[in-house]
Amino acid sequence: MNGLRRVAVIIGYEWRRALAKKKFLAMVILVFAVQITGFVIFNHLLTNSPMGLEVPLEQIKPLIWTLEVLAPQGFFTVLIAIMIGGGSMSEEYEHGTADIILSKPISRIEYVAGKYLGGLSLFSFVAALTTVLGVALSIAFFSPQESLQFVPHIYLAVVYSNLVFLSLAFMFGEVLRRTSLALLSAIGVFIASTVISGILAVVHMITQEQIYLDVSKWLPDWCVVNFPDFVTKELNINVPLLGGMFGSTEEAEIFLAGALIAVYTIVFVVIAVVRIIRSDVTKKTA
């Protein structure tokens, strides 16, 4: 019970630490700005359809909230997850503040759990804000909206899928103990994974060999980017633009994506935990 209390104290601490960072706040504001800009573009496209582009306006309008909620997914939400996870452990070593906390009666497991859960809850909060903003804008400008009972499902799918890069950045932060290196490594993995997926998709188009698509599914970006879309489709929310954006889905793929997210997350978190338990607390490094 006392251990849980200490974990809760560290969660609260992690929130304060993150919210005190101007870089983090700027990133969140940027995501909101992108979301609002996206909304303006959608609004323009739907009301002034360009020549040659046939948009099924009446079908999209009642479900526009799904596009709004999922718009930042796959890039901006991943960047926020990386930003939260990457600095969580490493900044404490760089600033020398890890000493202050770990010289107090708290176990390293409690500390790392509080740090991780603090980062996760913070990310969940930011994702909730973007979800609420997307839904609110859609209702305000394109009401009535349909299938709003599934907002929590899609929100949870977004949070769950982003566990992969949140955990990857968290692990890099603990292993490398340098924030810039951790952020670069995690972003590097994300970009490399996206680029390789793209190349494999192109090779698949040329050769029609299924193996290339199958291989791309094991890259971390596949499950992260596609899982919320798969969930949306599983809920029978059929937005025409969404189908075009993400391609067709087999039922088994939602389970594969979900399982891969769980496996990646567990592996990254376990590496971070083993590292902090087995190693020394390094002195100020920045």
Binding site: R5, A20, I100
Partner: protein, 312 residues
Amino acid sequence: MSYKSVISVSNLTKFYGDFKAVDSVSFTVDKGTVYGYLGPNGAGKSTTIRTMLGLLKPNQGEVQIRGVNPTKDPVQALQCLGYAPELPNLQAFFTGKQLLDFIGKIFKLTTQDRKKRIKQLLELVGLKEWENKKIGKYSKGMVQRLSIALALINDPVVLIMDEPTIGLDPEAKTQFRNLFTTLSKQGKTIFLSSHLLDEVQRICTHVGMINKGKMVFTGSIGQVLETFTQQWVVEAELEKVTKTIVSSLKKFGYVEDVKVEGNRLKIKLKEKKDLRGEISSEIFKQKGVILSLNLHKITLEDAYMRALKEGQ
């Protein structure tokens, strides 16, 4: 839990890669003791302290705080302990009050206890007016004061302080030295690493000396002075120093050497005896006028330098 010593370090060895930072260090600190941990830069003092706190994992040996190993059970071992690091890096986004509150929560203090304790401590360290200012705006001395307050938030039984008065103004130094003495009288055990030997001699009851990772000496202040005292010195200030006075003193069997520094004589004695009577009669005989005559046995600094030299 039963334990003999409040702090027990046995056969502690710590490597950084191939470099042996601490080499088979052993010492114990008993209840109510003020233990000064001395050594030059890079001697292994901070490594020892960080291992005592469980921040570093020893390659060999063991540390126990009140019978509990902080590496194995930090929650129990550190519950009764307060730590003030050297040149602390505190969370700059907190105010002083918020940081004390946060650390108080880790120590499981109740809201009421934290409120009361924070008020007391901020007054004690002279930061009451700065309690709601961000730590990022504090001066080095203020950070040091806050660090000492942090170390006291849980009313600890054992205090570990790494150069606690560094960066403090002379008035604050005196204030904190008095505080440490008061805490020691209350039965708290204090482990203090310092470069300021006169400070250690004034506050500490026991000392440990470390050089190049090896323990050179551990014992009471009296023991260290006794162990490393080779000779006593009589310092005489005269109205005028003459050659006859110097040569007559040199002829004495108990005088090893006489040095002249202006109108002062530094007379090194062969034996550890107070021979001021004999020396003053000899100076009078040679018609010298004595302004002052003092016997210097040995300072902690002398003992420290000698200990390091012998330890090499």
